[in-house]
Subunit: 397 residues, 3 copies
């Protein structure tokens, strides 16, 4: 039988009470204990599933999902997490909805939530919009509950916004923790969050921002590398700086990929759009300026093409610690010679890390389930202990 003692002991030692009844917007709004509790519950839920023990805490209940951008990984991770806990996912497909022009966010939020325990939202397309939208939904649901219209307060999980991608960053972090054998081993480890070339443009900034906002919490040396013009949101850089100072780590920036990779223990090379350009795009969309958007796109693609040499090559990998840095990516990656002529990563590098990459992704459903679990449970360690003792089969084989 699996030994859950370590998970339970860790959880009991942490103060995660602040997560009860709350949403998960940004990792830097959560305390160190709350983050560690999330990793711990994620691991415990995974251990339960591996031991074929049900972690159903809902007999019925809805999880509303709203994806304002395409999604496979996060969609299935959310569906998996909700199903694991006993919730049925009901997708709010704005295309099929009778959401009137001008209908308030408050109204829609309430209308779909009469029996919703959880709401997961992806809204990452426009700078200044996604996170703000989630806050508005959350506020509406809080009021709807207080007004007695909703029987329960649905807790919101940010499935990627313009600022952070917490389910991704937390899954990535748990992958790092597992790879290096524990949080206590991360102090001084060097991670290169680097821009990389992709023939497409306009990828969200929430991944690099999420990474620098989270990885600076644990005493790591976080290096952010990108060509000039590819800055991320200044506010998030500020968060990273403060985190690093508080955790005894560091946060530095460089304009050279090679500098970031040199001696790195972990590398995360990934394309993203320049923040200023994305801001500009948001304005152009707001103005309905199609020609302006097209012109901006051309400009960005041309700009992008200047940096084809930002590729995670074998040569760069050789410069990392022992030539064996952990290569990470949120997937799908633009693999040179596979998914495009030239992209973010050499195919030989990607291939060598395929199994760890899939492992990295495998944490996400459990991280989401842990976020829900901690938002719902007044005493999460007691509930976990109860699930272990209940010992109900997930799969009655």
């Amino acid at each position: 039988m699996t030994d859950f003692t370590a998970h339970l002991d860790t959880l009991r030692s942490l103060d995660a009470a602040g997560m009860h009844g709350e949403d998960f917007f940004l990792t830097w709004e959560k305390s160190h204990d709350e983050l560690v509790a999330t990793f711990t519950v994620a691991d415990a839920l995974r251990a339960l599933r591996e031991a074929n023990i049900s972690s159903r805490i809902f007999d019925s209940g809805l999880a509303v999902s709203l994806f304002r951008d395409n999604s496979t990984r996060t969609r299935f991770s959310f569906a998996s997490a909700c199903n694991l806990l006993g919730l049925a996912v009901q997708d709010l497909d704005e295309g099929k909805s009778q959401i009137a022009h001008g209908e308030t966010v408050r109204e829609t939020a309430n209308m779909v939530s009469f029996m919703a325990d959880v709401i997961g939202i992806r809204d990452d397309m426009f700078i200044g919009k996604g996170n703000a939208y989630m806050r508005e939904v959350s506020q509406a649901l809080k009021e709807g509950f207080e007004d007695g219209n909703l029987e329960q307060r649905p807790n919101l999980v940010n499935l990627q916004c313009d600022i952070d991608h917490p389910t991704q960053a937390m899954a990535d972090m748990n992958h790092i923790i597992h790879t290096f054998g524990g949080i206590e081993n991360l102090k001084g480890k060097r991670i290169a969050m680097s821009w990389a070339y992709s023939p497409s443009y306009g990828k969200p900034l929430s991944v690099p921002q999420g990474i620098i906002g989270l990885m600076t919490r644990f005493g790591m040396e976080v290096v952010l590398a990108h060509p000039e013009g590819y800055e991320v949101m200044p506010g998030v850089e500020e968060v990273a700086r403060k985190n690093a100072a508080a955790s005894g780590g560091s946060f530095v920036k460089t304009g050279f990929m090679a500098e970031a990779f040199e001696g790195a223990d972990i590398v995360y090379p990934k394309s993203w759009a320049p923040f200023r350009a994305m801001e500009r795009r948001t304005e152009l969309y707001g103005e309905g300026d199609r020609a302006g958007i097209d012109a901006l796109e051309k400009e960005l693609l041309a700009e992008n093409a200047q940096h084809r040499d930002w590729e995670c090559t074998e040569e760069l990998m050789a410069s990392t610690t022992g030539g064996k840095a952990l290569y990470m990516h949120c997937l799908p990656a633009d693999i040179s010679g596979v998914s495009c002529a030239q992209g973010e990563v050499a195919s030989s590098v990607f291939d060598r890390y395929r199994v760890p990459l899939y492992k990295e992704a495998s944490h996400k459903p459990y991280i989401i389930a842990a976020m829900i679990f901690l938002s719902k449970m007044a005493d999460p360690s007691a509930k976990l202990a109860e699930l272990i003792a209940r010992d109900a089969r997930r799969f009655s084989n």
Copy 2:
């Protein structure tokens, strides 16, 4: 602990046996006892959920949903109701289906229903079509069950047709019952079901028809107000007249919004399309006459624009009983200065009633669950008593 005695006593005093195994098409096909049983079960299911007691009566089973028109509120209400009882919703998306040109309704109905316990349909676009379609589906399912092809007879819930919108009208009525403290207090209460201006045209008639067809059952004074040309279906007016006579209430019509509001206890100002025009549109669609449809639309919008003064203003609200009539709407409303320049209701009126409006909408999932419950249970009060005694947690916190 919640006291369910009142609900159980009420339910035991009613004869709702006729609902067992049957569909819910139109409120006026149901007896007074059956309507009251529906409100009672809805309230009981809500009380169970508030007490965190599971009302799962299905261990597995499908609920088929078919939306031939966009929907948010009703879609989520149906999903919530089915989930509450333990059914998984499977959407019949006609766009993704291999429903051959010329495939019979009978065939499709059977093909999706081998394990379906419930089927919910919205089909409200064309006069003379939606309800007829539902009847055809229902007949096919009845035969499919009798022929032994279906293991169970799926019961149909009308989620809005061309004639009635029973889940809306019943939720609205339950809101009224709760607001006025019981069915026994409704006698003599005056409700104004009034047309109101919206910049769009062609909204279904099923809401006003559902309201006059149901609210006349309880001794209320029902006033239907609309500009000339905005008549509802004559058959439904006839139903309202008969209902009023039988229940000791009244049903009157007026061409003036102010007259309807004067002294009203409840107001329901809402845009709808003229019945004759909708009939004409159905014919034009049948003939595939695109030009004719465009011409009709222009004509209707011009006609519509004549009645911009049909707005639920503060002035009109002041003329109601104590200036405090209950303002109702099925949502989303066209709010002047919010969702459109000029619409159905002044924003100050809407804002003042926002909480009651959301409460109004919150009844729908429970009403739908009650309809399903009563169609499935031979002895609904015994089953409710059993659920209370079983005392299984919906949410194991």
Copy 3:
């Protein structure tokens, strides 16, 4: 109480161990015992449901569905089967997914399967593609499980590919078994799998191929009839020939519908596309040759129109054994004078067989559930016995 003894005895006498942990691609990859086990479990699961006994074996778990072609019957059958066993269906909608251009099948397969117990795929559009795609997915999932990225190996159910339509053929076969009172009565029975005219073109070959590949397993006389040019895949004909030889039946071909029908006990008249033309279409799609595809379509429709006389008429039916052959179709059929001017079958023939046709279709959800059950259970008869003994209500009425 239902007597399940016969089902359990049959199942105990069969060796279906090879299905445990495996996929279901093609019926001719399964042993005779495995096919009979599938029919037996399907019947047992149906008997359980009829006796209102739950056959839930999953407390939670996902079933991923991927439909690369429209589907109603199979979609609902898959949803029903999964729901019956306790799995929630999560659709992989490639349109809404962030599946990058060039993303590998291996990656997508892993990303959606972290908590997937089953994956059902329909991919029947292009010769040489569908089955190959399924094999690739299966291989990826096997590796993902072995690499420790997936907690379980999701078993794949072929919901129709370019080669076989096993859930259809197995449901059809079970209908035949029930109609003729048992597998032991099929020896020497004559089945005419005949091409029939439809105004559309390009229908998949997987149904006729599935029928000749399966029905030749049980000593039946299988006749394949089609106009010149409408050959099916040579490899499947070879399978049919070998099956017939091994089972003591026969497999013959004819160019005349009347010859196939003469003395038939079962007739299955259905349109399909010529294999060579479908191969050509696959190439043209590969080359992106739109003009070539349009030209091919015109050519095929013209060719098709030559064979309007391939219709299942009353006259042809009269020539079958006792004039009473069992008429079969996977539905929807092209019915002359109903769904098209002239089609596969006379409306009087179709109408007479409507109830058996729906019965035929009703087997599919149970066949799929049986395929899943047998892939998941190390000892299926013991588990069935346990479900019977557990006697949990599916519907607590």
